[in-house]
Amino acid sequence: MTYIAKPRLHHPSLGKNKVGYTRRDYEGKVSTLCAGCGHDSISAAIIQACWEMDIEPHRVAKLSGIGCSSKTPDYFLGASHGFNTVHGRMPSVLTGANLANRDLLYLGVSGDGDSASIGLGQFAHAMRRNVNMVYIVENNGVYGLTKGQFSATADKGSQSKKGVVNADSPVDLVGLAMQLGASFVARSFSGDKAQMVPLIKAAMGHGGAAFIDIISPCVTFNNHAGSTRSYDWVREHNEAVSRIDFITGREEITATIQPGEVVDVEQHDGTTLRLRKLHTDYDPTDRVVAMSYMHARAAEGELLTGLLYVEGEAGDLHTALNTSARPLNSLGAADLCPGTGALDKINASLR
């Protein structure tokens, strides 16, 4: 519940982006999450990314499931339509919304309970179908709204706040997304805004299913010693494999890079994504290499972050369905109804 109204006044010095909006225009209601929640940092990164990308706020549709993470779309992009759907089913609703109007940018926000437990099936199939969207999982390994139960992404052997040791193996959403054919897979940490913002921007320009798993510590129920999703633990084990140097289609590339250290990826929207490889033996454009590398480093106890896998022109569900360039929700009877002439012929064929 929101009790505090945000002041609408903007400081006159606030910069405007190319479409005429200040960063404040991308904000939403005041967050009702706990102070220090990682999710709020993610909301801030989404706001920053949209502003920097010159996206008109009302051209974004934000969808979520149920849980702490799924409440956050109320706290950013207040001028966008939002849809807080049912638990674990955001991917299907987003798929339908995307089919209805291919011209909007779709942002799906979910949590580890929402996507790895009740919604694991829908998560998997949305990746398989390559729905054009940014799918962010705000992953804290715990059920926050119901006060501290383990979620399906909690590491085996990790401890809950009450001292219970988790006996179940974790669901690795990043690994699943890669295996299921997602064409953009990244992991980040809510405490690293410098990494998150370029990743979100790259995901928005991707043009297919772009999945970002963001480790986002729960300050209330999962930020203690024994947790593997606490701020301290993640900072200690975070290992970035790549850093997005810049995304550009127009500006001249000026940085001097040693050959072999960077990977350029042509994005769907015509821009180029330049990735600086922080691990020399890592190739983020090779699915098989990326998967085995990730598994090997995970076995060493490292939490790999950055853009883990990306496929340039991957197409999307609309490409596969060969749908009209015009949004389906804009078509009227003249486009859709075959009329009486055709019906007479059908009748004749049924006699």
């Binding site: 939002g82 299907s92 011209d103 929700n329 075959p338």
Partner: protein, 609 residues
């Protein structure tokens, strides 16, 4: 033995093995009679299986045009040794048994009160054909040939049908005609013909069409402007989505070869309804087709669509429930599950088509109603009309008809009008909505399943909740005037008896009413086409002393709905229930109502009928 004697009025049943290619031969037989101007209504009685299990095709021939299942079999074409005993048993005394006598049956396996006609089909086939598949398929065409002689069905009509079926595949036409004539020649030479049951040219078919309800519903979705279909295969609804696919491929491809539609075969029913909800929220006309188990799975989303007020259309081709139930048998047993789907207080709009023509119309209408009312709308068809070809009036459409997209605010509206997503500004309970991406600064809101105030702001305040749910009730009352209205059939004489029925019960009911009035039992009838019930339903019940409610489920679900919604005294509503999975018959209804009336007559305290 007195043989059954009837022209253009008999029932013939084919007992076959699933997957043996009998379906197309049997359909050919039924269509040939139709082409002679004699109404037929065939019904597939099939197992949930692809090959090997028993399957039946029951054809009622009725010059009077009675298309309900009659009950009783005048002639059995027994082609399945597995079901021999039961098939022979089912024949009416004086009826006929036609069988493959390559291995003749002993007298003990037959009956002496029926006429047995043996034809060595396998022997003839084996002599003529060497390919096993041909032996199998042409055996079917051959018995159609023999039956055409026995029952006096025109040979040229069958040939013409074969020509249409295999147009462009001349070789197939020739080989089928050859098989047909093999059957005809044998029957002409060796069998007494025609029988005492036979077909005679009539002119009782007219412009009517012969089509199944699922094809009609799929076509209705195309005409009604559905652009998004998400579905999960489930018997008996699968062919709705398949028909939509087929007709979209034909009618919905634009000049650039791109599709003005999107069809997703989802991973389950949860996802298919989710896709439909997302598309409906974003302003596309969207539907799913499913059956009872699918409805159970979709129920959470149906509650969301009701409460968040999102237009969605569901075609529910009902089958026998509960659970997996009888997947290939018919029932009207999802009425309550759909009317009140979801936890919490909910009510949903249901439409009850009576035949394929109405499957077409109601599906198109449902898409309009969903947009107008911003709520789930169910087209409650069933296996009997969904999967069987039924003779019905041709499909009609008015080219001047535009889609009713309901109350959607444009960017211009938002410039000068107040927007409260859940506010009743017109007094009909229907709020205005906006679509994502409409206006840079106005009209956005956060859609949710949680309670909210009239401006879509999260609120658990009692008054906000009451305002909202009372408005939903007002909207439901508005719906009663917008849905297809009940169709009365007054009795010839003034009567204290009424009957209410709906959906696929229609042909059996109309036949029963004819028979009953012939016996001097007059009953006013009202066919319900939708829920919520308009005032005329209550008026009809109030105007009669006893009202029979005829339905195809065990628990009298529509009757419960009437009692609950209209506050009718239950004692007034007499249950007439048929729920063994076969379609209801006129004989069943007639018998029930007749018994009831006679009991009332002999009862000392109540002799008013």
């Amino acid at each position: 033995m007195t043989q059954i004697t009837a022209t253009n009025d008999f029932v013939i049943k084919f007992a076959n093995v699933n997957g043996s290619g009998s379906a197309s031969a049997n359909e050919l037989f039924a269509k040939a009679i139709l082409r002679m101007g004699v109404p037929v209504s065939p019904r597939n009685i099939f197992p949930s299986n692809i090959q090997g299990l028993p399957t039946w095709y029951e054809v009622r021939v009725s010059e009077k045009g009675y298309l309900g299942r009659r009950g009783g079999i005048d002639m059995m074409v027994a082609m399945n040794p597995q079901t021999w005993a039961a098939d022979v048993e089912e024949i009416e005394p004086g009826g006929y048994l036609f069988y493959d006598s390559t291995r003749p049956r002993a007298a003990s396996e037959l009956r002496d009160d029926i006429t047995v006609i043996g034809m060595p089909l396998t022997e003839i086939c084996n002599a003529v054909y060497s390919d096993p598949r041909q032996r199998q398929l042409f055996k079917n065409i051959m018995y159609v040939g023999a039956l055409s002689v026995l029952l006096d069905v025109d040979q040229p009509v069958i040939e013409a049908l074969l020509g249409e079926q295999y147009k462009g595949k001349e070789k197939l036409i020739a080989s089928n005609v050859q098989a047909l004539n093999l059957g005809r020649d044998f029957a002409t030479e060796h069998l007494k013909h025609p029988l005492s049951i036979k077909v005679e040219q009539a002119h009782r078919v007219g412009q009517r069409i012969f089509v199944d309800g699922n094809t009609a519903a799929g076509l209705g979705a195309v005409y009604g402007g559905a652009t998004v279909c998400a579905w999960y295969p489930i018997t008996p609804s699968t062919s709705v989505a398949e028909a939509f696919m087929k007709y979209c491929a034909k009618f919905r491809v634009d000049a650039d070869g791109r599709h003005d539609y999107a069809i997703v075969q989802a991973e389950d029913e949860l996802a298919s309804i989710g896709v439909v909800v997302g598309a409906g929220w974003n302003g596309a006309r969207a539907f799913t087709a499913t059956s009872g188990p699918g409805i159970s799975l979709m129920t959470e989303f149906i509650g969301l669509a009701y409460f968040a007020e999102i237009p969605i259309t569901l075609v529910n081709v009902q089958r026998g429930g509960p659970s997996t139930g009888m997947p290939t048998r018919t029932q009207q047993a999802d009425v309550l599950a759909c009317a009140y789907a979801s936890h919490g207080d909910t009510k949903h709009v249901l439409l009850f088509p009576e035949d394929p023509k109405e499957c077409f119309e109601h599906t198109a209408t449902a898409l309009d109603l969903a947009d107008r009312l911003q709520t789930p709308v169910f087209v409650m068809t069933d296996l009997d009309i969904g999967m069987n070809q039924r003779l019905c009036e041709p499909f009609t459409w008015d080219d001047a008809r535009d889609y009713d997209r309901g109350k959607v605010m444009t960017a211009e509206d938002l410039e000068h009008k107040d927007f409260g997503r859940y506010k009743d500004v017109d007094g009909d309970g229907i709020p205005w909505r906006t679509l994502p991406g409409t206006h840079p600064t106005r009209g956005s809101y956060f859609t949710r399943g949680t309670t909210r105030d009239a401006y879509a702001r999260y609120s658990e305040r009692g008054p906000d909740y009451i305002y909202n749910v009372q408005r939903l009730l007002a909207k439901f009352a508005t719906a009663a005037a917008l849905v297809p209205q009940p169709v009365p059939r007054p009795a010839a004489k003034r009567t204290r008896l009424g009957v209410i029925f709906y959906g696929s019960t229609s042909p059996a009911m109309h036949e029963a009413l004819d028979v009953l009035s012939g016996h001097g039992i007059h009953v006013d009838a009202l066919r319900l086409c939708a829920f919520p019930f308009p005032d005329s339903v209550k008026e009809f019940i109030d105007a009669h002393e006893t009202v029979f409610v005829v339905e195809q489920n065990r628990d009298a679900q529509l009757r419960s709905l009437l009692v609950n919604e209209l506050e009718i005294n239950p004692a007034k509503l007499c249950k007439v229930l048929h729920y063994d999975g076969t379609p209801i018959t006129a004989r069943f209804i007639t018998q029930f109502i007749t018994d009831h009336v006679h009991e009332a007559v002999v009862a000392p305290v109540d002799s008013k009928f």
